[in-house]
Symmetry: C3
Subunit: 175 residues, 3 copies
Amino acid sequence: MRAKIGILTVSDRAYRGVYEDRGGPAIHEYMNEALTNEWEPVAKVVPDELDAIQAALIELVDERDCSLVVTTGGTGPALRDITPEATEAVCGKMMPGFGELMRQVSLQYVPTAILSRQTAGVRGKALIVNLPGKPSAIRDCLDAVMPAIPYCIDLIEGACLTTDERRIVAFRPKA
Amino acid sequence: MRAKIGILTVSDRAYRGVYEDRGGPAIHEYMNEALTNEWEPVAKVVPDELDAIQAALIELVDERDCSLVVTTGGTGPALRDITPEATEAVCGKMMPGFGELMRQVSLQYVPTAILSRQTAGVRGKALIVNLPGKPSAIRDCLDAVMPAIPYCIDLIEGACLTTDERRIVAFRPKA
Amino acid sequence: MRAKIGILTVSDRAYRGVYEDRGGPAIHEYMNEALTNEWEPVAKVVPDELDAIQAALIELVDERDCSLVVTTGGTGPALRDITPEATEAVCGKMMPGFGELMRQVSLQYVPTAILSRQTAGVRGKALIVNLPGKPSAIRDCLDAVMPAIPYCIDLIEGACLTTDERRIVAFRPKA
């Protein structure tokens, strides 16, 4: 099974084209470096609207068969930031450990890391993970959670991800 | 804009006057030391009742135009402790990073820090943050989260807070 | 009051008898080592079904008068893992600090600790705590949260637990 990975940029400005999407490409580049299995990106850009984000997440999981969907943007406290709520609305199970760890790691760089409301959850056979909008913060967060992602996707019966161990050591407990 | 800060003491005993409110004054004193902008406290004392806490939070934000509301008390596991539930009920967005960091900091002092259910959230243009009841724990928690609060309130379009950098270095990322 | 402690094993395989329950006995053994008060275990094994877990938790708290109920199993991301949802459904109050600390401690051993969705909450005069399924992880988690459990149960008016201080130093703040 060729793994599909959804990359969802959530940004009013990127959606209207007044701002270049830098988060989506940063995730694409990261996955290219980290993964050794064959994989296919499915990229989308949506505005900061609850309905649009939910619809995109559902499409990426239910129709496009992504095993992993990574979002960028919309996790702060501002009025339009609504990505975590959209994520929670489409997930059957929430995974609080992802947000906790990503905030903890980001706190090493900036005290405002606690303002990020990023979370993660499972919808069907897909893991959905919220990332920040800023490319450098995206890398810090992915470095923290990526070691646990392949095993998580095994457990929910998604595609098998393998990583370049010089970059990311994916952990799979021995049965 | 002169910043208004709500200070809400939640305590059956303080409300009935059988116990001196020490949490509210500790928050007031802390803000006097930390803030360099002009600000006005709006203090209230309510019993540990869901309706009374919700009504006070709504009044402080919607009618009194507070940009920040800090509560003290009612965050433990006991039957009457209901401040986090009241906070969640009036907030449009929850900010889990505040509670996580405050518990982590308090864990350096007491293993019972995990019993605190304190949280934070946004209602309109105000940030609401739950603090413990004990003055020394209030200071430890505020030291941890205060560096992120001015930027959070910028993002939700509340008043501009500035801090005495000998006390608190407020972080505002460069755009 | 003789303390009753519920030990709930959540596992399809243990329930059908195709797999020996190792989590329940590990919790029993741990409590025998850690506690110095008289206590009585009330052990149950249920399958990974929301209704069965909820019914067992309610019985252990409401009918069997347990002051503490410890679950093992069912906290991962897989389709059948549903223990945290069952716990939340029967609790009047959630205690997020337990899950945060247990994940943080487990992260010292395995990066997949963030996949655990374990939580804790209060139902009436009982504290319910989710633990992992693996005996070694059970011990690591209990070592982390046990110092706070006796005081938590004091606050919710359950039985008085005392610990062997060579094993666990239970913390009770001075009034």
